[in-house]
Every structure is written in C-alpha cells, then in structure tokens.
Amino acid sequence: MARVVFESVTKNFGDVVAVRDLSLEVEDGEFVVLVGPSGSGKTTALRLLAGLESLTSGEIRVGDRVVDRLPPRDRDIAMVFQDYALYPQMTVYQNLAFGLKMRKMPRDEIDRRVRRAAEMLDIVELLQRKPRALSGGQRQRVALGRALVREPKAFLMDEPLSNLDAKLRVQTRTEIKHLQQQVGTTTVYVTHDQVEAMTMGDRVAVMSEGVLEQIGDPRTVYGEPANVFVAGFIGSPAMSFASVQATRNGDALTLSRGELSLTLGAARFPDVPPEVIVGVRPEHAHLWHDGEGLLGPIVARTEFVELLGRETLVGVVTAGELHFTVLAEPDATTKPGEQVRFGLEPGHLHLFDTATERALATV
C-alpha cells in the first residue's frame, strides 16, 4: 500500500494536450475516482500511472519511489481493464497465477494467493474454466482477482463496470467498494459515470479536457461545485443554469432577467459581478403550492414531464427563455404546454462568474 502522487503531470499526443498540469495526491488506502466525459484525460492519467504511456513532463510517485521512468512491471501496480483483458487460452487459475509466475514466486505461495483471491471473489468453482466459458460478470471477477493476487501497492481500474448490464453494475459497484475496504489497497478508478464516482469514491476528481477541475469528497463536489462544468457534470438529473443580472440593494440581492426577478434578503452576500450564471439543482426547485420558504413564484410553461415513479421531473421554460428542471411529487399533474408556477429554495442557488465560470457563492 502506498500514496500515489501526480505532480504537475502533462501528457501531449502531438499537438493535443491529453493531460495538462495534473497535480493529485491519493492517500494510502484511499479510493479516488477520476471522472469526466470522454476525452477528459482521465484514462490517459491512469495509463501514465500504469506506465503504459510516458510522461511529457512532471513526476509520478508510488510510495516513496518516482516511477515515471520505470516499466509497468516494476511499478508494483495492478490494473483492471475495461475489456478485462483475460488471457483467452489460459484457465482462470492460470490467468490469476500468470503475474505471480512472471515474478518467479514459489509455486505454493502462488497457489495460496490464487485460492484466497478466488474465495474472496466467489470464483473457486470457475478456476479450471477458460474465459470464453464465463459470463461477463464472472470475467469481471476474474479480472479483479488477477489484480488482487498481486497484492500490489495500488489498484488501477479503467471503467471496469462499463461492459456489465445495469443491474450487475450496481451490484458489482458495491462489491468492488467493499473489497477495496477489506484489503485497504490504494485505488485509482476511472469512470465516465458520475453515479459510480459518487457512490464509490472516498474522493472524486472531476476532469475535463485534460484539466483537473475539482477534487473532493462526493458531498463537497456535489454541494459545492467549483465551476459550471463540475456543477453540470455531477448530479443526475443535471443542474439547470441561467444567465441573470445581479443587483445589490443594501442587504438584499436581486437576481433578474427580463420580467423575472427574485430578491434574496436579510443575509450578508459576497460581492458578485452584475452578470452571473445561476445554477439550481432539480431538488431545489419545486412546484408552487403555498410557497412557504421558496423564492418565487416564477411563472413558466411546462416543456416535458418525466415520470420516474418515486418522483416526477418537470422541465419548464420561463418568460425570458430560462430553462429549469423541477423535482415534483409523483402525482404532479402538469402537462407539456400548460402554465405552471414554481419556486426555488434559498440557500441552494449557485452563482458562477460569467467569464471564468468559477463558483462565486451559494445563496
């Protein structure tokens, strides 16, 4: 087990910057998820750590060692691939044993480790099978087992759940997290699925276009997004954004756009520029009943209604062409085209700078 440190790591592919000045510290035993859309550089970052790509500049350390000049086999890391990359002609046992054999480990130690990993993953009865005779979920377990037997300093996982069906994915998600807690190995996990990131990571690192946008525990990244990108990427359904004018009037702050105007009062607000982007998560926008504790009412037209069973999402558009998603009760009756009124919860409006898109305040 060890700390994993990226220090000012940059990777260029020709003229394309895949990872730009990435600095990131993963604590010993921590589970950090790199999340971002495709092309965000998260997989490249993982491959740099694995030694499958070489750095353009910067430094990577595993434990006390600088590893960025070492070949993958000397970095003492194990990786789980998206397509599992099991050796097709070998049995499950041989697949698990291969990495240990290459390290010239004594046979009885190999056997002990393989059997223990197989028991942990509940794949003992599969040990003599070849990968093609396994289901997707079983292959996934074998791939995990291959990492586990190595007892490495760090696990690297590259979207290991993306080839599983939805139900199995949820189940395996929990299992991987549990397994990691059990063995306590430092883990860097890459995914594009923000739900996976939120549920699995001790900390979540959000990347976009090669840049680390924010790193923090899931609650912080969700509740206090550092910028518009993180705010929009983390959370499903996504946060709604609107460009508005912000006016200070004594203690009050008024956010307005055309006829629409919301005044927040009786609190100390930080200085904000006259033009801001306001972001509101669906769970902080509600249909207007008695209006208690809400800002509004805002008159709008229903655009779409999504019944999710436990709740209903209502997409609305206001007079100034501002779009919001409102979380409504499951029995909400509004239909597309109808007029609705809704309100926003004060204390949960995220303000971002129009130019830099950086977070300014939550009001």
């Binding site: 030694g51 070949p71 993958p72 990786m79 990359a85 050796y87 291969f98 990495g99 290459m102």
Partner: protein, 275 residues
C-alpha cells in the same frame, strides 16, 4: 421475409454447389483417369468409370517419376523451410505489430515488396549470388530461397494476426511483468494459433509445389513437382500414368490440409466473421 431468406439460402447453396463442382471436377477426373489402363490410346473421357481399377499405375508412376528420391528432397526442404519461415514470420510480425521503432514502416514495406516482385524477375541475379556463395545445386539453396520468399507473406500475415489482438492483452501482460519475449510465446502465439497453423499449411503447400526455383538451383536434387515434370515428353500421351503421378504429388498436401483443416478454416475466416 421467410420466403426471401429461403430463396436466398437456396441461391447460395446452388452457387456453392456450382463452384464446388467447378473445383472438384478436374480432381475427380484426375483420380478416375489415374485408374484407367495405362498406355496410349486408353484416354479416359470425363467421369466415365474405367473398366477396372488399375492401381498398378501408381506403382509404375512412383518408379518412372523417381519419386522415392524427389519426395525425400521435398520432405527435407519442407521440414527445414516450414518451421524456419513460420518462426521468422512470427518474430518479425510481432515486432511490426507491437513495437514502435525507427524505420519500421519503411522496413515493413520493403518486406511487402517481396510479395509484389515475382521470382522470375530476380532469378538471374539470384543465380549469380547463389553461385558466388557456393550453394548452387544444393538443397540449402532451395531452402534459403524459399524461406526468403515465404517470410514476405508470413510477416504480412502474422502482423495482421497480432494486430487483431486487443491491445489491452499486451498491456495486461506488461503490467503482469512479462517481457516482450514471454508475452510473445505465452500470450500472443497461443492467441494467434489458428493464424499460425494456417500459415504453416500455406507455407508447406508453397514449399511442396515449388518448381521454378528447384529447376534453376537444385537440378541434381529433384523435388516432387520436378518428378512430375519428368513425365512430359515420353509419357505425355499416357494420361493414366501422368494422372497417377499427379495424385501422388498431391497426397502430402492433402494429408497436411486434412490434419489442420479445422484450424485452417478458422484462420482463413478470422476477421471475416465477427467473433
């Protein structure tokens, strides 16, 4: 929908039967002809069955063609040349498929050039070269020339086979601690087994059928097709004997093909069907 697909299936089968017929007709014809009574004037016609099966033609053909000697030469050549070119093709194909090195593209195309230039175009300089190194009229000349000709295709073939492996397989092996050498023999060769066996069959067939190089370079060690060629002239009109000789020469290839048939088909179809 069902009617269309049934019509399609019927059409497919008709086409396949026709093509198979075209391919099989001369073979069956040759086998039948080889069993006719030997000698001029007994020319067989089409698929007409001979009056009796004259197996003795094979014994005569074996002796007349001197196949005892020429088979030995051909087997020796194939036994050295096939493993040599397959191993060289595997090594070079692996290099071209998985390693980035300066000049790899140019080098690869240079090998491909070997596929494009016909042997006939280089035979004269080759003759002088072989004579200069003192290998003229030895089996080694044939072995070395055949290997050099065969690796052009072999490298091309093995490179494609290794490229079809998922890159993550190689990466997993690297992380697991396998060297390039171990990765090749423990992971990639088993992965590419169908392609390798197919290459083996094709290389053997090429080696066995080689006539031109044998004619130029090893005149005193005739190979099997060379034995067949000795029937032209004196025995040209003895269709039964020539046919028997042709069947004799074809039998080893047939055996090799039958032994490797399943893998051969898999190798040829790799990439044709999504697996």
């Amino acid at each position: 929908m069902t009617t269309t697909s049934r019509t399609q299936v019927t059409m497919n089968y008709l086409l396949l039967i026709f093509v198979s017929g075209v391919a099989i007709y001369p073979l069956v014809g040759t086998v039948l002809a080889s069993l006719y009574p030997s000698g001029a004037g007994n020319s067989p016609t089409g698929f007409a069955l001979p009056s009796g099966f004259h197996w003795g033609n094979y014994v005569t053909a074996w002796k007349v063609g001197g196949f005892a000697g020429s088979f030995t030469t051909s087997i020796i050549v194939a036994a050295v040349m096939v493993p040599a070119s397959v191993v060289l093709s595997i090594l070079a194909g692996y290099g071209f498929a998985t390693m980035r090195f300066r000049g790899s593209k140019v080098l690869f195309y240079l090998f491909i050039l070997g596929l494009i230039i016909p042997t006939e175009a280089t035979i004269v300089p080759l003759f002088y070269d072989v004579r200069a190194i003192g290998l003229l009229d030895t089996t080694w000349a044939l072995i070395l020339l055949e290997v050099s000709g065969e690796v052009a295709f072999g490298i091309f073939w093995m490179r494609a086979a290794f490229l079809s492996a998922p890159p993550s397989l190689l990466e997993a092996a690297r992380i697991d601690g396998a060297s390039s050498w171990k990765t090749l023999w423990k992971i990639m060769v088993p992965f590419a087994r169908p392609a390798i066996l197919t290459l083996t069959v094709l290389t053997f067939a090429d080696s066995w059928n080689e006539f031109f190089l044998a004619l130029v370079f090893t005149i005193s060690h005739p190979t099997a097709p060379f034995g067949l060629a000795s029937f032209s002239g004196r025995y040209t009109t003895n269709i039964a004997l020539v046919s028997a000789a042709a069947v004799i020469v074809a039998i080893p290839i047939l055996i090799v093909f039958i032994v490797f048939q399943r893998e051969f088909m898999r190798g040829v179809l790799t990439g044709a069907v999504k697996g």
